[in-house]
Symmetry: C2
Subunit: 245 residues, 2 copies
DNA sequence: GTAGTTCGATTGTCCGGACATATGCATTGA
DNA sequence: TCAATGCATATGTCCGGACAATCGAACTAC
């Protein structure tokens, strides 16, 4: 096999990261076929001129991603799963763009309102304190796909309407240095009310997919609370869950 | 603060794991309050008579779980998120039991059938090869909640009908040594067909929540493919997603 | 007073080694 | 023939140390 691996010690990117990226690329590319052994850590370390802990750190990161499996006494092998994409905190905008749908957004509401009890509880702010309220209609190919209603704590973001129409909320957050960390989601379904049906071009009572989400950044602070409704004929949630032992 | 920490070197459970569990318990219990610093690693290691790598391994596992945040030059602090439960590959049976609902199951179908193209693709077996087909109705408080249709590759499991009615599919898998690893899910919604409406006690056209799932074990082998429909008034999906950088 | 600098504190990365433990296979014994 | 034993192999755990990178605050200079 051999598999050309090398690290650049003069690079500022960590050695274990260089290695894990090369291994991941090899798996993605097919140089490392599913089920194949990876060769033992000691020898791999020797071949690359690295220490075993460094090699282990690289391998461990791929194990966490679900690409590799280690078995004591056996070795490390590539998992032969059909799906390789890791789970992600998905953004509707990115999802659509990745599917080549060229999403469009229409901002319906962009104001500051006092927080209701529900919003205050979700965002962890005082009731009746000011929060941003943004309501958007997301379209693909001119057809409405989803209605998005979001609440954002004040001071985090400059909620420019033009920017909201040209990109997604998550991207705007990342752009100002907020690193998203986790989200608590609830997905359900119900029949459309007359107002919802009107907005999305469906009939009253038609099945709608609903999602509520609170998103947290890496300090545990809630940065967004949203209530979304989707047309199930146009969108469904697709994701991969990894079991955490 | 001090926070009584100790490790038992004679125990077979790894030191880093003992430490991480104690820290997690302290966070859960409230001894470590959100936002509080954890004290530097060096001193913590010295106090416990451990090496720094061991302490770091314990801390890292909690960072991965989303309970702690490390910042260079600052320290490690407890994330002050409202929600602490990690994401999990949820089993409907366990979900219901955790909610104190005492789930009941009625097995409608339990046979072996040739795999359709769809099933074969999901499970990674040959088309028309034998697979188990299990159809179940899950009830809570005597009311139907969901209709579960599952396909399982042959030879994995002894699909005893009585056992299927008294516990969940995931538990049966774990019981025979299968370690679940990840799952690919699709969640959507649609109107109930007349047969579905009949089964679940809804009206035709009523909104239903649908889920399709392929579950993989730690070797990447598909162990189950399921198509489920839920009554949205009785059940919704609730879970936490962690962003993987 | 304000901006830039220095410095201490803390985590990030990396090394080299040691011993424990589980696995699979070959060998041995009944 | 088949089961028990032993051994090589590989990962799991743990140690102690070294230096780098980053953050925040105190300090200094203008």
């Amino acid at each position: 096999m051999s598999l050309e691996l090398s690290v650049d010690r003069s690079s500022p990117v960590p050695l274990y990261f260089q290695l894990s990226q090369q291994l991941e690329a090899a798996i993605e590319h097919g140089s490392l076929t599913p089920g194949s052994l990876l060769g033992n850590e000691i020898e791999l370390a020797a071949r690359l001129g690295l220490s075993r802990p460094t090699v282990r750190q690289a391998i461990q990161s791929l194990v966490d991603k679900g690409l590799l499996v280690r078995r004591r006494g056996v070795g490390t092998q590539v998992v032969h799963s059909q799906v390789k994409r890791p789970l992600e905190l998905s953004s509707l905008y990115d999802d659509l763009e990745a599917a080549g749908q060229r999403p469009a957004t229409k901002v319906l509401v962009n104001t500051v309102v006092p927080a209701t009890a529900e919003v205050a509880a979700a965002l962890g702010v005082a009731e009746d304190s000011d929060v941003h309220r943004v309501e958007r209609l997301r379209l693909a190919h001119g057809e409405p796909m989803a209605h998005l209603c979001n609440f954002i704590p004040p001071g985090l973001l400059d909620l420019d309407t033009a920017q909201l129409e040209s990109t997604g909320l998550y991207r705007m957050m990342r752009a100002v240095g907020i690193t998203l960390h986790s989200a608590r989601q609830t997905i359900g379904a119900r029949g459309a009310t007359s107002a919802e049906a009107d907005r999305l071009g469906e009939q009253e009572g038609a099945p709608l997919l609903t999602m509520q989400r609170v998103t947290f950044d890496d300090t545990g602070r809630a940065v967004e609370y949203g209530t979304h409704t989707y047309r199930p004929s146009r969108y469904s949630f697709e994701f991969q869950l990894l079991v955490r032992s």
